[in-house]
């Protein structure tokens, strides 16, 4: 009977269903009026459901009693609407901050952000595409609290220093680990970038990534977040997630193109008053003798522009040509070209039931502002995932990169760095004279200052001094995911990253650098393979507690093979640059470096009623680089997230006003191993010094008992959200200490060695990070979002090795960058002015400062804090966004200023007191008084007091304020004198405020787009590095650095930065 009844009712329903109506319509996003696919639609009260198709369209059969439709979709506010007769248009409002925001965490595991017990920041791809930098990492600058990115100034494709929460290691590289889709990639720098005496920056691994392939970047700052990556992640992780196809989505095509015009920005501010000479007197290469030009052998143009005023006097210039002595105001500016960067990316993606795919192709080309520099990169990518069996999925990500860079410029004190030329060259010399006469009739390089081979002609370098590096790189992963049951999953993954880079460089024959000519060539092969397994079991313990257990393992191998060779003694056949053409036997050297590490790890997460979350991780590493038998180390981490807003009584607390609150806390230890080959004594055998094989003991003392490094870190944070998530605050406090640092510590040469590998040192880094998000205005047509990020890091060197008072991070021109106990990382130590015990500068009877012969700490490169503000406005189809970035505190030594002001007198700032001094001298000569008997009436009045025992005109003036004018030429010569440098006046506060990014984007209206048979189209303009709003460093960009190593806070002959304005187009088909 019962069965009969059921049958009857079913029939009845079926009949009534046939009689009912159908509701149809399209769902759009209120934000951009784009159709929303896959919206869940449920009819009420009948409960029938459907979802929208890719174009947002839906149709649903209604029962007669149904009156309402409920629309819900991830990322949008749910909406309930009455059924109307016509075709419906539904606009869903995007959620302000997705409460159940899913983020990518370590090992590529997706988790709700809510559940995390540590700080992380995610940056979406939209925010990355607003600039045209060839290296994707530079686009993160200023966007994440606690992340500091510094790119070497050397044109397109240089490396970037990536520091999270300060420097944890004294002499380690301190840089964050780069992870793509859960697996680390090779980010080694391919050279030491700017070394003391020059060098080139060959970029680092991250610059190979196609920005267009990136879905999002998560920045894992603290040790807890990155503990699962183990030792490599001691300095944090940049986690890149690539774009993938979506299951069930029709094939789509996206094309995007950006083109930008780049101009040199922040050029030296050069003076246009005085020309070549010293002490006010002209000194040219040629003198006129009896109406004939006579070479002046003592001429010393290297003193730059300390000569007389340029007033059109007729002179014979360096090239023997007659010229009027006149300033060349655009000399330097005209050297740099207008750069162009284009970036075109094409991708196809889609998916069927068992397969998703995405293929991408991208090409980047930069013609740099630095003449001759070209950067060329092609990326081919594929991201495919196939369900080969019901519970077995194979995914692969593959990327091929080819990059080719022509003519990387010399950095810092390199012979072929053109900036040093323009810093030293007298202001009257026309740049054209260098361009028109860079070689003599015999083909030898000539330049305006022939007496010093380090002063080369930039145009000779452009013409002949060539170099190129090209790289082929393959990286990606293949993974197997098996779902044994609903609760148990397995993952097996291997991720190779192989690159081969070929370099060659020419020192042109008959050039000033090496006139016999030299060709050098090298080949570098690097392979990194990470293989992982991971088993995950998740279940519910009871109705309150859910848990996940994971057990994983990783095997890492790294291999680096380097082969370099160069010609010796010149070339047999002139101008033929090959190794075979070497006059003497070539010099060649092969270097191989290998390391391996195996790890086992486990982690467990517990979720109690979705408000209390606990994570525990444990990892043990076995490293090939530590002493056998004692080569493994263990470290744990704990983190706790407490979403207290879940506990608040809805009646007492208005969720409309206070929507979310979470407290989090974590503790982690992360260990680290050593570089290979630091344990045993070795003897290097060489044979290139003309006496056959010879050997010497390694100049670094190995360490048989090396211990792993360990970073212990604690952090606590608070997240609050208000007004339906339209205001969010995220604050973090952290404190980390690194112990047992493996340091290559410089030692007294009298010990027989330059350096020794020691376990030493404790560095503490603690600080605050504050991130604030707000959407003050939001409606269908207008939206205003605001994001503020603040980070303050205090670093302190607690101790170094026993008996070691400092560790040198960088050294050049008697200025060192050091780590000293009790001070923050990065002291800048050099020579300063002699002062009394009150800190007053002492001057002698001529009013001249005195050098303090004891070097002292003159500054520190660590900034006090960074603050950035980004905001975007959207009105209908238009959006505008900008990024303001500031970094306050921290110092920089500027070698450009030292030489441009001091030695060369070419900078505007070196004009102080010159006019008045020459007037005083003219008065003195007119009066016929000897210099010793004359009290100068003008010149440079230096701030200070007379030194004890100073007597002027028979009167003891000790301690009185200085009133003696000094000759500016003598002052500047003194402070910049080779080997007797006084660095102090050239150390500047490196604080800056910059308008980094500005972009305007317009989305073409859907009607237009549809007519064009497209799905979506955007056009935009963007500008980068637009305005240095505030800086106290004259003549250079305060972010200028010559290395991506630890020797920060040191600038020398830096290239100007680029200001770019560009156009972008994105089309979806």
């Amino acid at each position: 009977m019962r069965h009969t009844l059921i049958l009857f009712i079913s029939l009845l329903l079926a009949i009534s269903a046939q009689a009912q109506q159908i509701a149809e319509g399209t769902v759009f996003s209120a934000a951009d009026e784009q159709p929303i696919p896959f919206v869940n639609i449920i009819a009420l009260p009948g409960g029938q459901g459907t979802s929208s198709d890719f174009e947002g369209k839906f149709s649903i059969r209604l029962q007669s009693k149904d009156t309402q439709l409920v629309f819900s979709s991830v990322g949008f506010e749910q909406d309930t609407l009455n059924v109307t007769g016509e075709k419906m248009k539904i606009y869903l409002t995007p959620k302000a901050e997705k409460l159940d925001e899913v983020v990518v965490t370590a090992l590529g595991i997706k988790r709700e952000k809510k559940s995390l017990g540590y700080a992380m920041t995610e940056v979406k791809s939209e925010d990355l595409l607003k600039s045209n930098d060839v290296s994707v990492i530079n686009k993160l600058s200023g966007k994440v609290a606690g992340l500091q990115i510094t790119a070497t100034n050397g044109g397109a494709g240089t490396s970037s220093r990536i520091i999270l929460r300060g420097n944890n290691s004294i002499t380690g590289d301190n840089q964050a680990l780069i992870v793509v889709d859960g697996v680390p990639i090779n980010n080694t720098t391919n050279s030491n970038s700017g070394g003391e005496w020059g060098g080139r920056d060959y970029g680092n691994g991250i610059s190979d990534i196609n920005p267009d392939d990136i879905e999002s970047i998560s920045v894992l700052k603290g040790a807890s977040a990155s503990a699962l990556y183990g030792s490599q992640a001691m300095d944090g992780v940049i986690l890149i997630t690539t774009k993938k196809g979506q299951s069930g989505r029709k094939m789509g095509l996206q094309f995007s193109s950006t083109t930008s015009i780049d101009k040199a920005y922040i050029l030296y501010d050069l003076q246009n008053t005085y020309g070549a000479g010293r002490n006010g007197k002209f000194e040219g290469a040629w003198d006129m003798k009896d109406g004939l030009p006579a070479f002046n052998p003592g001429y010393d143009f290297s003193k730059g522009s300390w000569g007389p005023k340029m007033e059109g006097q007729e002179i014979i210039d360096w090239d023997g040509k007659s010229r009027n002595f006149l300033p060349q105001p655009d000399n330097y500016k005209d050297f740099f070209e207008t750069g162009i960067t284009t970036n075109n990316a094409l991708s196809i993606d889609g998916g069927a039931k068992h397969i998703t795919y995405r293929f991408s192709l991208a090409h980047t080309l930069t013609k740099d502002i630095i003449p001759g520099l070209r950067y060329n990169r092609t990326n081919v990518g594929a991201n495919i995932s196939v369900n080969i069996l019901k519970h077995l999925k194979v995914s692969t990500y593959f990327n091929f990169v080819n990059s080719k860079v022509d003519n990387r410029p010399g950095l810092s004190d390199a012979h072929d760095n053109p900036n040093r030329n323009f810093i030293h060259m007298p202001r009257h010399i026309p740049q054209n004279s260098l361009r028109d006469f860079y070689q003599d009739a015999a083909g030898n390089e000539v330049t305006w200052y022939q007496n010093w081979s380090w002063m080369t002609n930039p145009y000779w370098n452009i013409a002949y001094q060539k170099n190129q590096d090209s790289r082929n790189r393959y990286f990606g992963h293949i993974s197997l995911e098996y779902e044994a049951s609903k609760n148990l999953k397995f993952l097996l993954r291997t991720a190779p990253d192989y690159s081969k880079t070929d370099f060659w460089a020419i020192d042109a024959m008959k050039g000033l650098i090496y006139s016999p000519g030299r060709y050098s060539q090298s080949e570098s092969k690097q392979l990194l393979v990470n293989t992982d397994f991971l088993a995950t079991y998740s279940n519910a313990l009871n109705e309150n507690i859910n848990y996940t257990f994971n057990l994983g393992g990783n095997a890492m191998i790294f291999k680096d093979e380097n082969l370099t060779a160069n010609t010796e003694g010149g070339l047999v056949e002139p101008y033929v640059y090959t190794l075979e053409n070497s006059l003497n036997p070539i010099y060649s050297r092969k270097y191989l470096r290998e390391a391996a590490k195996n790890s086992l790890y486990a982690f467990a997460s517990f979720d109690y009623n979705r408000f209390l979350y606990l994570d525990i991780t444990a990892r043990n590493d076995w490293s090939s680089t530590l002493p056998a038998g004692d080569n493994n180390f263990f470290y744990p981490s704990f983190s706790l997230g407490f979403v207290f807003s879940e506990l608040l009584d809805e009646n007492r607390c208005d969720k409309e006003k206070f929507s979310f609150g979470k407290l989090r806390m974590s503790y982690a230890g992360v260990g680290n191993d050593a570089e290979p080959y630091q344990l045993e004594t070795t003897y290097e055998i060489i044979n290139n010094e003309g006496y056959g094989d010879m050997a010497f003991i390694d100049r670094t003392v190995p360490n048989l008992n090396l211990l792993p490094e360990l970073v212990n870190s604690f952090e606590a944070g608070l997240e609050l959200k208000f007004f339906m998530d339209r205001l969010g605050i995220d604050a973090t406090y952290y404190d980390s200490r690194s112990h047992n640092q493996i340091t290559n510590m410089p030692v007294s040469a009298a010990s027989g060695y330059y350096t020794a590998i020691v376990n030493s040192g404790i560095i503490q880094n603690k600080g605050w990070e504050l991130q604030l998000n707000a959407s003050p205005l939001r409606n269908r047509k207008f939206q205003w979002d605001l994001n503020i990020a603040y980070a303050k890091n205090y670093s302190e060197i607690i101790e170094l090795a026993p008996n070691v008072e400092r560790a040198t991070l960088y050294e050049h021109w008697r200025l060192t960058v050091e780590a000293r106990p009790g001070n923050p990382y990065g002291d800048i130590v050099g020579y300063g002015f002699l002062r009394d015990q009150n800190g007053q500068v002492l001057v002698d009877s001529r009013g001249m400062i005195i050098r303090d012969e004891t070097p002292k700490v003159l500054g520190n490169f660590t900034p006090d804090f960074s603050l950035s503000l980004s905001s975007s406005f959207r009105y209908k189809n238009w959006s505008l966004s900008f990024l303001l970035h500031s970094q306050i505190g921290g110092d920089i030594f500027s070698g450009s200023n030292m030489y441009g002001n001091g030695y060369a007198g070419n900078f505007e700032t070196s004009l102080n007191g010159r006019e008045a001094w020459y007037q005083s001298e003219a008065d003195r000569e007119a009066a016929g008084v000897a210099p010793a008997d004359w009290t100068p009436t003008g010149g440079l009045l230096l701030e200070g007091i007379y030194a004890p025992g100073t007597i002027i005109n028979g009167e003891d003036v000790s301690g009185q304020p200085n009133q003696s004018f000094v000759n500016p030429y003598l002052y500047y010569q003194k402070v910049s004198m080779w080997q007797e440098e006084i660095h102090e006046p050239f150390i500047y506060d490196a604080s800056f405020i910059k308008l980094r990014e500005l972009s305007i984007q317009y989305q073409l209206p859907q009607s237009v787009v549809n007519n064009l048979r497209l799905k979506k189209a955007f056009v935009g303009i963007f500008a980068n590095n637009i305005w240095l709003i505030y800086s106290k460093v004259p003549n250079i960009d305060p972010e200028s650095m010559l290395t991506n190593g630890n020797g920060q806070g040191y600038e020398l002959y830096a290239y100007p930065n680029k200001r770019s304005v560009g156009f972008s187009l994105t089309i979806n088909i």
Binding site: Y683, M694, I697, A756
Partner: protein, 484 residues
């Protein structure tokens, strides 16, 4: 996995032959040390060369840049590799002769270090590996000298003919000749003993007494010299090439040196200097013209040496002055480290002091004769005739210390400034003079080099103790053996 950490690029075995070759070669310096320390500093201090750029007031004796590199290279590349041989020899009894040569060479380098700086780490040096001692104490110079003298004695006595020695290719100084090493050790001991003539005369006497029976460098063939080659040019040639390329600014022989040669009609002048380029065509132009030291930049005197135009040669490079003699730039001629001539002069001084049998004047003449013959021997054609030699020698009819040391000054010209700098500080000879022939200001003449900044940084306590004992770390602080 640990086997992966065995360095594939380098050897783990200490090979004494390869190490010794390297230590000797590196003891000759490199571009940085030789050209910066010697040619940009010491040579101008000692007035072999003069800088035609002139000097800025108050800048008479700028510190040479190469001092720190010289210190580092000598300790690390030179001495430490000999120290490794000496230490490893404990495990290999048949290295006894190699150990002895290593000890002699180590001493040779150490004497250069202490003569330039004074107190220096020695007894505790070279203990970085394996002792992990990175902050060696400074020994007093007296202690270092005692140590060096006894090491040389010990080394010379320890050779054992039944045991192997370096083969010809591994011994860059004497081609594996043990007798030569013994003569070198004894002669070096002689030199060091004379060095402390003022500071510790009784020890000088003892050492000389012991050496009367010892074999010494006693003919030209015994001279200790190093053979450079086309890959490793002699430092003087290297410096000259670089300087010529940079406009010949620094490498001109000085007026002081030229005047000594001219005033004594020294026939060696043809080897020391090239004739001025215009003197052939214009007889009124001096054949030999050196550049004065210490003249002020742009002063009237300076102009005299810098304006070609005055000589009617607008395209001339630098004013007509003599270049360094090409004889010295011959890379095939080995560079003497301790020559037979020097031994003659050392004996002359010892005899003058009554500590060595023989007539000091005979030794002096023998030394000059040897030097002139040596110069002839390495010239394409002998430019000094036998009669010229005799004429020059015959002008000597008395002997005093000034003559002996002045002859050494000439002997050491361009190639061994370490010795002439040391002998000048010990004896005050030759009397260095300025343009007006008045003696230079000895008060501001450098007595030593400043310790490298790295010592202040990495070995501070010992550095501070050293300057407490020796005096401030300035160029003007006298050394222990210096003439007071």
């Amino acid at each position: 996995m640990p086997e992966l950490n065995s360095d594939p690029n380098n050897s783990t075995q200490a090979d004494p032959d390869l190490l010794f070759k390297y230590a000797v070669k590196r003891g000759m310096g490199s571009y940085l040390t030789a050209s910066h320390l010697e040619y940009n500093g010491l040579h101008q201090w000692m007035m072999y060369f003069a800088n035609r750029g002139g000097v800025e007031p108050g800048n008479e004796y700028p510190a040479p840049t190469g001092g720190d590199s010289f210190w580092n290279e000598t300790y690390i590349d030179g001495m430490n590799n000999t120290a490794v041989i000496i230490r490893e020899a404990e495990k290999h009894p048949n290295w006894v002769n190699k150990k002895a040569a290593a000890l002699i060479w180590k001493t040779f380098m150490m004497h250069r270090i202490t003569d330039l700086w004074g107190e220096a780490p020695y007894s505790e040096a070279f203990k970085g590996n394996p002792e992990l001692e990175f902050t060696p104490v400074y020994d007093s110079q007296e202690m270092i000298y005692d140590h060096m003298l006894s090491d040389l004695k010990l080394a010379a006595a320890s050779f054992d003919w039944s045991q192997p020695f370096f083969d010809a290719s591994s011994d860059l100084l004497f081609g594996g000749d043990m007798d030569a090493w013994i003569r070198f050790a004894n002669s070096l001991r002689f030199r060091l003993a004379i060095r402390i003539s003022e500071a510790k005369p009784e020890l000088l006497q003892n050492v000389l007494n012991e050496l009367t029976q010892a074999s010494l460098i006693s003919e030209e063939a015994h001279t200790a010299a190093f053979q450079f080659n086309s890959v490793f040019n002699k430092p003087l040639l290297e410096a000259a090439m670089i300087r010529y390329q940079e406009g010949e600014q620094y490498i001109n022989p000085s007026k002081f040196l030229t005047d000594i040669l001219l005033s004594t009609n020294d026939p060696r002048i043809v080897y020391f200097l090239e004739k001025t380029s215009l003197s052939d065509a214009f007889p009124f132009i001096d054949e030999y013209r050196g550049v004065p030291n210490l003249v002020a930049y742009n002063s009237e005197i300076w102009q005299n040496y810098n304006l070609d135009a005055q000589l009617g040669d607008p395209l001339g490079s630098w004013g007509d002055v003599s270049r360094i003699g090409s004889w010295y730039l011959n890379n095939d001629r080995p560079m003497p480290l301790l020559s037979f001539s020097e031994m003659c002069f050392l004996k002359a001084e010892a005899a003058l002091r009554g500590l060595w049998p023989g007539d000091p004047m005979d030794f002096l003449k023998q030394g000059i004769n040897a030097h002139m013959n040596y110069m002839n021997a390495y010239a394409a054609e002998s430019l000094i005739s036998e009669s010229a030699i005799q004429n020059y020698i015959n002008t000597i009819n008395s002997v005093d210390l000034q003559q002996i040391i002045t002859q050494k000054y000439l002997l050491f010209a361009y190639e061994n400034v370490f010795e002439s700098f040391a002998e000048y500080r010990r004896t005050g000879f030759p009397v260095l003079t300025n343009y007006d022939d008045s003696p230079i200001n000895a008060q501001i003449f450098p007595k030593r080099l400043r310790y490298p900044y790295s010592e202040f940084t990495y070995n501070r306590d010992n550095y501070v103790n050293a300057i407490e004992q020796q005096g401030s770390d300035s160029q003007l602080t006298p050394l222990w053996w210096i003439l007071k």
